[in-house]
Symmetry: C3
Subunit: 153 residues, 3 copies
């Protein structure tokens, strides 16, 4: 199995978001996919709350388009620092793994602060030299509530 492909995938995941290439970020997903953001508190208490949920690629496209059209406020730079991949399962081309993340935000005045920490629970298909996202569950330790128009984590 191509471990480099998974590492490349997650490196590009963070860089695409950080460079405001949100459309490129969407392209990392498969057409039939699932992206959701939950808090760790909810997961551990088996609560059903989901902060963001897109259950196919068109919903991701719509979300990014809305963001592009409406979001005129709170401009900032994102910066994702991702840890190593913990692979937990591999069945054919499908890999399941977790990656811890820290996400920092910087104002246009250049002030940086910690915004969110947590973990990505990911299912990805690894093809020839490239991997694609089948599902990403963002489990945020930090209790930030991203609004409808926030960028993805």
């Amino acid at each position: 199995m191509n471990r480099d492909a998974l590492s490349d995938l997650m490196a590009e995941y963070g860089m695409a978001l950080d460079e405001d290439r949100l459309e490129d970020w969407v392209e990392l997903f498969e057409e039939i996919c699932d992206y959701r953001v939950v808090t760790r508190e909810n997961v551990e208490q088996n609560l059903p709350n989901v902060l963001i949920w897109c259950d196919n690629k068109n919903m991701l496209r719509d979300r990014i388009e809305s963001y592009r059209n409406v979001n005129l406020y709170n401009p900032h730079y994102d910066r994702h620092i991702l840890g190593p991949i913990r692979l937990s399962k591999q069945e054919g081309s499908l890999c399941t793994f977790d990656v811890s993340y820290s996400l920092f935000q910087t104002t246009l005045e250049g002030e940086s602060r910690l915004f969110s920490v947590g973990r990505y629970h990911v299912e990805a298909n690894v093809g020839k030299g490239r991997a694609t996202l089948k599902s990403v569950m963002v489990i945020a330790d930090t209790g930030t509530i991203p609004s409808l128009l926030a960028t993805p984590i």
Copy 2:
């Protein structure tokens, strides 16, 4: 030498702590092992202070058991973000390497903050597909003094 095995080992090291699977964290160590936490200040001044020191696996087990039985206060989530591995020596199956870490803590109310940064100095044996910890020295830049009942770093 299997670099992926070292990366998997350290990914699981952080994830086990972060997911409160402390018993799984202990299982990453060999029976004859050494785990200690020191501050960088002490290391650089050749001071003998050691904040935590377990010099075999049973001591690690005891420590975790004490923590499970006594620790009713200060609940929080940990999140380790680890950097890349710097391999410095390899002799047979024994690898010596360093990994920088940042550790964030989140209260149950969802507020995250930087808790500690520093470096792991690690000796690990790499067997067939799996690596085990022979020694971990946590050299903390941050001058946090973990109490007897604190979780490992």
Copy 3:
């Protein structure tokens, strides 16, 4: 291509700075090299401001020597946490890639804080088992203005 060599290179880049082995850090560069620090704000506005610029290895040596001779104030520990490598180009032995970084500083009293986040845009030559830096552009999200005598990022 040897991905491990790039990972080793960047791991050592951060560790050399963090361990105050600035001379070792210089040795990671080729004789004909380029190191500069810019802010993201300037890059995105096409402004020419460069906070630090060394366009060959001797300039890097001079800079480190000045730092060693003059810098008596603001002692602190640095800690770099680097994310995964995003490889964008490979031509012969020359690799172009980006790495996100977070940089924390700790006072001698042991207080740690976030100092800077951003991205390294790197060109490196990968030889037999070892990689060398041809150019590093530090693109800092954080608007810190390192003084003439500051350590490199």
